[in-house]
């Protein structure tokens, strides 16, 4: 193994390090080739990483010291929320430094990368509080301050949880039915000319119809609204997954089929061992798209017909002019959808780890 540092400002590996070069990890290689940071840069990094704590304290101070413009019950709820957020960050910060002390810089680097965003989040919370509770530029109670929202979410938690579960059940049921059927039709259409002949016209005909158009029809035709909503969500997901997997399979390079054939693969194996794995990136992006269409469909369904779930909770709260409840539901929805998207992303990365290095 030959290693020649290009210039003297880089860390020169000792003989011992040279012997270890053969089994370097990616992270160690990066560190070895990186220019050493000047003391000033190191100091700056530390400042950046402490910035969220500073901004968190600013948010707490703003909430505590600036006089209120509207009455504020249970003021400690939001305060507690802020303190918890800042403490979580401090724990993360400490964890990163303990890890760094143990020789693993990855957590530290990630923290450094994310710190400005966390800082911005705290500033945003402070600004929002200032505009709502403190000055009333955003009129209360139409745009409620965070303390109202967190309080009402806590008070109404049993009902919100019930609605959340209902939404999740409906959404996942529809989503999984749609994805499963979509995979079957998409793969068959992609691989078998005959199937494509019959299915493509259906896709072309039904595809452009927006999901919400179905709702009035379903409300009339379907025997249960729950079943109708599942159907609408499944339809949207089915469409997205069918199109994506069909395209994925049609685009498989002919060379792979030829290679597999000369290696003894049967027709069935060509589908399951070549076409599907090759189309996996496309199929998974179809699943992500299906999820976003399912999220839209469930909200529309719940706001227009279904008498349960978070979408229904929002319209119901609005009709009672409980704007704080409306916002609470909005945050829960936002949280759920983010979590679901993140989970899908993790699955995608795990399944497609062979693509690492291929896409440069």
């Amino acid at each position: 193994m030959k290693y020649q540092p290009l210039d003297s400002t880089r860390n020169k590996p000792s003989m011992e390090q040279m012997a270890q070069l053969d089994k370097l990890t990616r992270q160690q290689l990066k560190e070895l080739e990186e220019r050493q940071k000047t003391p000033f840069q190191k100091f700056l990094d530390l400042v950046i990483m402490l910035l969220p704590v500073v901004c968190g304290l600013i948010a707490i101070g703003e909430y505590h010291f600036v006089p209120n413009n509207s009455p504020n019950n249970n003021p400690m709820t939001y305060m507690g929320f802020l303190i918890i957020l800042v403490s979580l960050y401090v724990l993360y910060f400490l964890y990163a430094f303990i890890k760094k002390g143990m020789g693993d810089k990855t957590v530290h680097d990630k923290l450094l990368y994310r710190a400005p965003l966390f800082a911005a989040l705290f500033l945003l919370l402070a600004a929002y509080d200032y505009l709502t509770l403190k000055t009333g530029v955003l009129t209360q109670p139409f745009v409620p301050c965070m303390n109202y929202i967190i309080n009402i979410a806590w008070i109404d938690r049993a009902y919100i949880i019930e609605c959340t579960l209902h939404t999740l059940r409906l959404m996942f049921l529809g989503y999984f039915i749609g994805v499963a059927l979509g995979l079957v039709t998409g793969i068959c259409c992609g691989y078998f000319e005959r199937v494509r002949y019959w299915v493509t016209p259906i896709i072309k005909f039904l595809g452009p119809i927006p999901t919400s158009t179905w709702i009035p029809i379903i409300m009339v035709v379907a025997s249960s609204l729950f079943g109708g909503a599942v159907f609408i969500i499944a339809l949207g997901s089915w469409f997205a997954v069918t199109v994506a997997s069909m395209n994925g399979i049609q685009n498989v390079d002919k060379d792979y089929f030829e290679a597999a054939k000369t290696l003894g693969a049967t027709e069935r194996q060509l589908v399951f061992k070549v076409a599907i794995p090759h189309a996996m990136p496309s199929i998974l992006s179809g699943c992500t798209q299906a999820m976003s269409s399912a999220c839209t469909a469930i909200m529309i369904a719940e706001m227009m017909g279904v008498k349960a779930g978070l979408g229904w909770y929002m319209t119901w709260a609005k009709s009672w002019a409980s704007y704080d409840k409306m916002f609470a539901a909005l945050f829960v929805i936002c949280f759920i959808f983010t979590a679901v998207t993140k989970a899908l992303d993790l699955i995608k990365r795990r399944v497609l780890r062979w693509q690492i290095g291929a896409v440069k």
Partner: protein, 259 residues
């Protein structure tokens, strides 16, 4: 290690035409080609683009059917691709979603013979010198390494007929010369019938026991030259140069006209 059975591969009056994409016409890639080949031979097919070299390989592996005539192995007509007639392509065409080890084991796996033959995969990894890359994905390999894996993936089923479609065409000159020797070493071990398409006349002579010179429009064999010289061959020896001139003459590129 068991020897393969002796095979005789025959092309009997084989023609192959392809429909052109645009006009309603056909091109004649091969016109009435008859040739017999035996186990133990290493046959180089050399000629200009469009002379049907690759078409012969694709007919032998039954990836495409002949328009007229037939291809037989020991008298039996070939109709379906089989791991007995392996092919190495110009592009490695490794399955990017499988690790090096699983790519090599693919053929055994689809035939349901992987479990009892794991030692063959290990041996192949050793032969191509990529044991430490066993769990890597193809995207992480260099061109030469990928082509070695492709070779191993085909050889694992111990094909009676090994076809190579410009396997070294995409490699740099040094890797190429190394791999010529590697392929020869592998071939010498089992002496299966090997058919290799190449653009490179030197490569054809360096590796082949027999060189089939082909010409285009229509695609046909214009010369069948046996090269009995012992391996390893010296690229600057007198007989090597003589063969080179002979082949170049057949392809109308000769400097020294002997006729």
């Amino acid at each position: 290690m068991a020897e393969n059975r002796h095979v005789t591969l025959k092309l009997e009056g084989v023609s192959k035409s392809f429909a052109k994409v645009e006009a309603d016409e056909v091109t004649h890639a091969l016109d009435n080609v008859s040739v017999t080949m035996e186990s133990g031979e290493f046959i180089s097919l050399v000629g200009p683009s469009g002379c049907g070299k690759s078409t012969i390989l694709r007919l032998v592996t039954a990836l495409i059917p002949p328009t007229a005539g037939k291809v037989t192995v020991n008298g039996e007509e070939v109709t379906e691709p089989s791991p007995n007639r392996g092919m190495v392509f110009q592009k490695p065409t490794l399955f990017p979603w499988l690790t090096v080890e699983k790519n090599i084991g693919f053929s055994l796996q689809v035939q349901g013979k992987l479990k009892e033959n794991q030692h063959k995969v290990d041996r192949m990894l050793k032969v191509i010198g990529l044991e430490s890359f066993r769990n890597d994905y193809p995207a992480q390999l260099s061109g030469g390494m990928a082509q070695r894996v492709a070779l191993a993936r085909t050889l694992i089923s111990e094909p009676e007929i090994l076809t190579l479609d410009e396997p070294l065409g995409a490699l740099d000159a040094f890797t190429r010369m190394n791999m010529q020797d590697e392929i020869l070493d592998i071939w010498k071990e089992r002496k299966q019938l090997a058919l290799m398409v190449t653009h490179d006349v030197d490569e054809a002579i360096y590796m082949g026991t027999r060189v089939l010179v082909m010409d285009a429009n229509p695609g046909r064999i214009v010369a069948d030259i046996k090269i009995p010289d012992a391996y390893p061959r010296d690229r600057s020896s007198e007989s090597f140069v003589k063969y080179r001139n002979e082949i170049l003459n057949k392809l109308h590129f000769g400097g020294k006209h002997e006729e």
